[in-house]
Symmetry: C4
Subunit: 234 residues, 4 copies
């Protein structure tokens, strides 16, 4: 039995949430998980439909994208995942989907404004959107540069990947992450819902405004940080 | 066996309607029920996913929000629920969801106009929306003040909680109630549907108007009050 | 065994399509069927949730709305159904739903234009919408007058109930009919779909026009009438 | 046992994806497959609901639309399918649906712009829309002319049926194709999703633009052609 079996099972289960939660159709989307002690990432193989995916199909790569275990080619988005693991040292899982409403905001190249407490329960600022990639970057090493675009928007806006666990890649779609693969998928579920809510809100009232800072802080800090009182303490 | 078992079962069943009816994703939403003789409220514990919720997890609190029975922390919205029970003496259950269309109207900070008989079958006026909370209220005792905002809009608009069993909390989402926990959830189902219908109506015809009073009255009073002839008499 | 058992079973099955096809939530909607030889109509009882409905619950009334068999009160919309049976001699079933998109067009008080072949496969003109009822009619005999409003729009527009098997009652929702209860429900399924398609079409292109008459005729007459070649001949 | 059994089973399975993937209601839609060696096409019979469809019901016709095997009348759209097989020699399956968002774009008579990578993963240009048919063509041989309209838009725009495996027939709905019936249905699933994403994108940002050519090419050519690295090589 492989020493990566535990990680592969975890990543398999998280990937299977994508069709179950309707976060992508056919083969789209992928989830990975990292084992930082062993220096490996487990990720969905490229182009395999969820209905045929097995635990054994999950590919193990190192942080330089070399296959360590597995007969299949890893997700074409692997370089984006590994770049996030290298630069966001606290995260344990990454999820990429083509969920409909999040993709629509990404295609509109607009950040999702914080219009209510469902959003504020999870992050305080807008969901950021990257810049459109330059032709040069696209031709160079596209999936690596996708990761660089994400790092870039976090740097420029001074965002923390511990607080903001989601981003929209312009003209493409969402990436989310978290302490483990399950939390990364959870954030994709939440992102799709707040993307839909924000769309509807602005259809109903095109001049709806981001909520006030005191309400943002209240909701965020009742769920996060040392004074949190949402959820169970243990 | 606890003397609250019956109430816990009732509240557990009502909570499980939330995922079944797609009124909220992940852990969002909560339903409670009151036993006015025993002076207790049964409510969902905070932050527990519905897929893991059991009858035993339901928390019993008194009307001053002190835990009477249960190992878990009650919903972070408990103070809103108990304030409603104290001020609306006829109600037996309260339901809070983050259902998508109702949240969109709440985030748009707009009441849902009475555009048709689906709405009029359940209440005669618009679904009210609270005012945005002041910074001071948010910082003071947020969940209690959420309840106060609800009471406030009912007082200002002269609404009866027996007739209008639903409200939108601005920038947050819906609360509904009823004679028991099941009826409270029923009202959340209805609210989400009329929120979606009103959204679509105004997209199709932005100048659609609230229906005439005679039609409102006809539909409301054929279902409610002494001359009702909708449903079964026993 | 009742001599109406066959009709009750047929009407029960047709009613159960309403929740299955998501044409209405909770207790909304109702289907009836007529036996013209016996002079009776079988209809859903008022206010019973579909999950609890049984064949035995179906109520038999005569064409003057008197209960002939059954312990429950018939649907509050019974008078609308019987008026349609009396005036449209070729129909065998009537279906009333609160399906979301059809209701939105009814609340917008706008006919659904014939924007494509999905519509034209079923009827050639717009789906008609009744006028808003006068206060006097609402107070007089509301459900009977609902039927009269339907007859009225058919007369004014010169529509045939054999060709146009659907109508929107202003501020209320759709009624559909057909040769039997199953066909009446089928028409409600189709109406909801063309209502959604028309909504989306006009959102994408607000100046989209009704399709040309030659295409309307082609699609309608390949499915209907003596030269039809759609479907199986036997 | 028929020498067409294998093809009939393949086409049956592909047709059953239509209701499963919610690409059409009731009897709408149809999938066919061609066996070029035997010179036959297997296609859904006309007007049969999916819930009643069996492998035996699939009709075998030759490329001149004459029934070779089967008791039922073939789909009324058969002439459109066979014309595509005759003119697009590399394709093995054709799928026609009335999926909601794709129909809405067809009714709006607007091509679906390439707004993001979900689209670019599958084709580089907009999804083309045919011209509205002339009255004369409609009266002549409607289903054949539907095929001619498709060929026409491909010729006029210089599109390749190997690269662009989908089209919108104006005022009607989508046709898709592929190397086999399963791939044809896959393309209908993808088309419906990109139709919905494009609709939402333009609702959020009415001035959203087609993505830049370098990004189109990157996504298309990482999945297609000799340098493809998406999916598994074997």
């Amino acid at each position: 039995m492989s020493k990566y079996t535990y990680l592969k099972e975890l990543v398999y289960e998280a990937n299977m949430e994508i069709p179950k939660e309707e976060l992508a159709i056919v083969t789209f989307g992928n989830v990975s998980g990292v084992d930082r002690d062993q220096g490996v990432v487990a990720i969905k193989p490229s182009g395999i439909p969820y209905s045929k995916l097995t635990v054994q199909d999950i590919v193990i790569v190192d942080l330089d994208n070399r296959v360590v275990e597995g007969k299949m080619r890893p997700s074409s988005d692997t370089k984006t995942h590994t770049l996030l693991y290298k630069n966001f040292p606290s995260i344990g899982g990454v999820c990429h989907t083509h969920s409909t409403y999040a993709v629509a905001w990404a295609q509109a190249i607009m950040p999702i404004p914080n219009l209510g407490t469902t959003h504020a329960d999870h992050l305080t600022p807008s969901v950021p959107v990257t810049e459109v990639m330059s032709d040069e970057m696209i031709r160079r090493d596209y999936e690596l540069e996708t990761g660089n675009q994400i790092l870039d928007v976090f740097t420029k806006k001074g965002l923390s990947p511990e607080e903001v666990e989601m981003v929209l890649v312009a003209c493409h779609g969402p990436f989310t992450w978290g302490k483990d693969p399950g939390k990364a998928v959870y954030n994709s579920i939440v992102l799709e819902e707040i993307a839909k809510m924000a769309f509807l809100t602005l259809q109903i009232n095109p001049s709806a405004q981001a909520i006030k800072q005191s309400l943002v802080d209240k909701h965020y800090f009742r769920k996060h940080g040392k004074d949190a009182y949402y959820g169970q303490s243990c």
